[in-house]
């Protein structure tokens, strides 16, 4: 497992920030997120058919593809990010098909060369691990899996098998960017999952404000924010970095305040 994940989550609750590669000036936007206090970066790989995503991220995928973003561009954005930010954990997040198109070994090799720490493949169920898992683990890249409210205790071990880095708890049964789950449900489910694993558990889907982030940081190891950033990228274009930085500062402060409380 990447030591970057270990070092980061050892500090206490972390802010995990998602944006789609190729949507706007991605390098500048990523820098703004890190400057504002992002602890982990999830870089979305655009796909024509993002069937687990809500309208905001769907549109970001289409904008990125219409701007001509290719897999090679995503890998270059990752490699350049790694060169500028040697310490920040970097995750590639997307759908299975673009990841396996040239073969899982090719993808794992290129991701490793780019300095990627982890990969989230939304539609690669643990049951189909053979398509990507072995190749990633062989290169020391964490396969980060998703757990959801429908992942019951019987199923959690299958989800954890072969995963590392952290576990991404999707707090609502639904698509990205919509409503947020009730805090009580989040707390119960995170505690339930933690009885099965020592991996950090990050919670996402529907988190937009510092207030929500602060509440979640009290019960989880990480808070994932995506659609709120995507909205700013869409709205502000070249001016997005400034706005992203302002939002992420508030979120980071909220998440990190839980560190002092629990330390």
């Amino acid at each position: 497992m990447s030591t970057r994940f270990q070092t980061t989550f050892a500090k206490g609750p972390a802010l995990v920030c998602f944006i789609t590669a190729g949507d706007g000036d991605t390098a500048a936007n990523l820098d703004a997120l890190v400057e504002g206090g992002a602890d982990v970066i999830e870089l979305g790989m655009p796909f024509t058919d993002p069937m687990a995503d809500g309208p905001a991220i769907q549109a970001a995928n289409i904008r990125a593809l219409n701007a001509g973003t290719r897999t090679a561009d995503v890998l270059k954005l990752a490699a350049d990010f790694r060169a500028r930010h040697p310490e920040v954990p970097l995750v590639l997040m997307g759908y299975a098909n673009p990841m396996v198109r040239r073969g899982p070994e090719w993808f794992a090799q290129e991701a490793a060369k780019a300095g990627v720490d982890g990969v989230i493949s939304v539609d690669l169920a643990p049951e189909e691990d053979q398509d990507l898992g072995p190749a990633l683990r062989d290169k020391g890249i964490s396969l980060i899996r998703l757990a959801t409210p429908t992942t019951d205790d019987k199923r959690i071990p299958a989800v954890l098998e072969g995963s590392s880095g952290f576990l991404y708890y999707v707090s609502v049964a639904g698509i990205t960017g919509k409503q947020q789950a009730a805090m009580a449900s989040i707390e119960d489910n995170v505690q339930r999952i933690k009885t099965h694993t020592d991996l950090p558990v990050a919670v996402g889907f529907g988190v937009r404000t510092p207030e929500q982030a602060a509440e979640i940081a009290k019960v989880a190891d990480g808070v994932v924010v995506g659609s709120a950033f995507i909205d700013l990228v869409e709205k502000h274009g070249a001016e997005a970095p400034r706005h992203l930085k302002a939002l992420v500062e508030g979120l980071a402060k909220a998440v990190h305040s839980a560190r002092k409380a629990t330390a």
């Binding site: 069937m51 098909n97 396996v100 539609d123 049951e127 199923r155 919509k178």
Partner: protein, 405 residues
């Protein structure tokens, strides 16, 4: 024929839903528990004589099965080779084979206690069939349909509404069938507790390709029995059009272990395979992962899915059922293609020679027969699936022929 030897072509998929390297379950984690439940419930239903009795009864008295097996004398004469026979699934209630599968799936939905049905549709045939069974059983129905298709297929949109369904135009992506399927999956993820997704073709995550095939296999079982009764032997060649491939797998599957029966699946080659304007996933695509399964897909070198094109909206999908991908690789079934123009010619040929207006989907199968029948001896038998009637397509055909209506 139920004795499946280890070398049988009929014992797919494996317990993980794989047909060779194809198939499987590639879905977001939220759906996995439901997919696993569905598989368990399907196993139970398959072994339950009561379920089978209910299915058979509805097929007989509501759908109108068995559909006839018809010898086409004037078409045979015109082509001057093998005898051409049609399995007349266009005579089913709602005018296509789609209803067979919808009956099976809604019975499953009710067994599972689901109270709301969703479906995707391209041209609207599967949407109409789903809306029909929902009306029959009194369940609310939401059909996702690409906005482009809604505009093109107004008669079917109105049919669905008459049947009580809500039709949701999908504007995401490019507003066609694959986008409708994405949107249905998004709805399903958000409503797993009460909603059953009736998928229209033999694709999607396991167990859908298997259960859709099983429900559609009534076509091949009947054809086998009818052909034996009428001619005392099995056909030499089966022919069926392929979009996702449910009518073809329904016809082929019961014959897979009959080594003397050859099979030909016909994809839609649109304006031809030279450019991007076709929907032939096997002939012009590569293996990949989409909509829950691994199969041949129209995609670019980065794995981005490309849009299919066919004059037949029912064949206009960038993927194909995983069992066909496997049957191609295993060599058991041959696959070919027909262009828009060839399908249009075949459409008119059948109208003229047999007094049957076929849908544009089976017109692709007929186009393949036009090529292959003359090369076969006169005592050879071709059995093709006439999987839909052409009333829905007359506007498209008129436009293609330059006729003002």
């Amino acid at each position: 024929m139920s004795e499946h030897t280890p070398n049988s072509y009929m014992n797919q998929p494996d317990e993980r839903g794989h047909f060779g390297q194809f198939g499987g379950r590639y879905v977001a984690e939220t759906l996995m528990p439901l997919i696993l439940d569905l598989e368990q419930e399907y196993r139970k239903a398959k072994a339950d004589p009561e379920f089978k009795a209910q299915f058979d009864d509805l097929l007989e008295h509501y759908v109108g099965r068995p559909s006839p097996l018809y010898f086409a004398p004037r078409l045979t004469e015109e082509l001057g080779g093998a005898q051409v026979w049609f399995k007349r699934d266009e005579l089913n209630h709602t005018g296509a084979h789609k209803i067979n599968n919808c009956i099976g799936q809604i019975l499953l939905a009710m067994r599972m206690g689901k109270t709301r049905i969703i479906a995707e549709t391209g041209a609207g045939q599967h949407g109409v069939a789903t809306a029909t069974v929902c009306a029959r059983f009194g369940l609310p129905c939401t059909v996702f349909m690409g906005a482009t298709d809604v505009a093109r297929q107004q008669p079917n949109v109105f049919r669905m509404k008459l049947l009580g369904a809500q039709v949701v135009p999908v504007t995401s992506g490019r507003g066609t069938l694959k986008d409708a399927m994405n949107e249905a999956l998004r709805d399903w993820v958000a409503n797993v507790h009460d909603t059953f997704y009736i998928i229209g073709t033999a694709a999607g995550p396991h167990p859908y390709p298997e259960l859709v095939r099983d429900f559609q296999s009534v076509i091949g079982r009947e054809a086998r029995t009818q052909m034996l009764a009428r001619t005392g032997r099995l056909p030499d060649l089966l022919v069926a059009a392929i979009g996702g491939g449910s009518n073809a797998i329904g016809l082929f599957h019961p014959f897979l272990d009959d080594p003397d029966v050859k099979m030909l699946g016909v994809e839609a080659a649109g304006h031809g395979l030279d450019g991007d304007e076709h929907a032939a996933s096997l002939a012009g695509g590569f293996p990949g992962i989409l909509h829950g399964n691994k199969t041949y897909l129209l995609q670019d070198e980065d794995g981005q899915i490309t849009e299919g094109h066919s004059i037949s909206a029912g064949l206009d999908y960038p993927g194909i059922g995983p069992e066909h991908a496997w049957l191609k690789e295993s060599g058991r079934v041959d696959y070919t293609y027909a262009t828009d123009k060839e399908a249009l010619d075949a459409f008119q040929l059948l109208c003229r020679t047999e007094g049957i207006i076929p849908a544009l989907e089976p017109s692709h199968a007929i186009a393949a027969i036009v090529k292959v029948a003359p090369t076969m001896p006169r005592d050879a038998i071709i059995c093709a699936n006439l999987c839909g009637r052409g009333d829905k397509d007359i506007f498209t055909v008129a436009e293609a022929l330059g006729v003002e209506m």
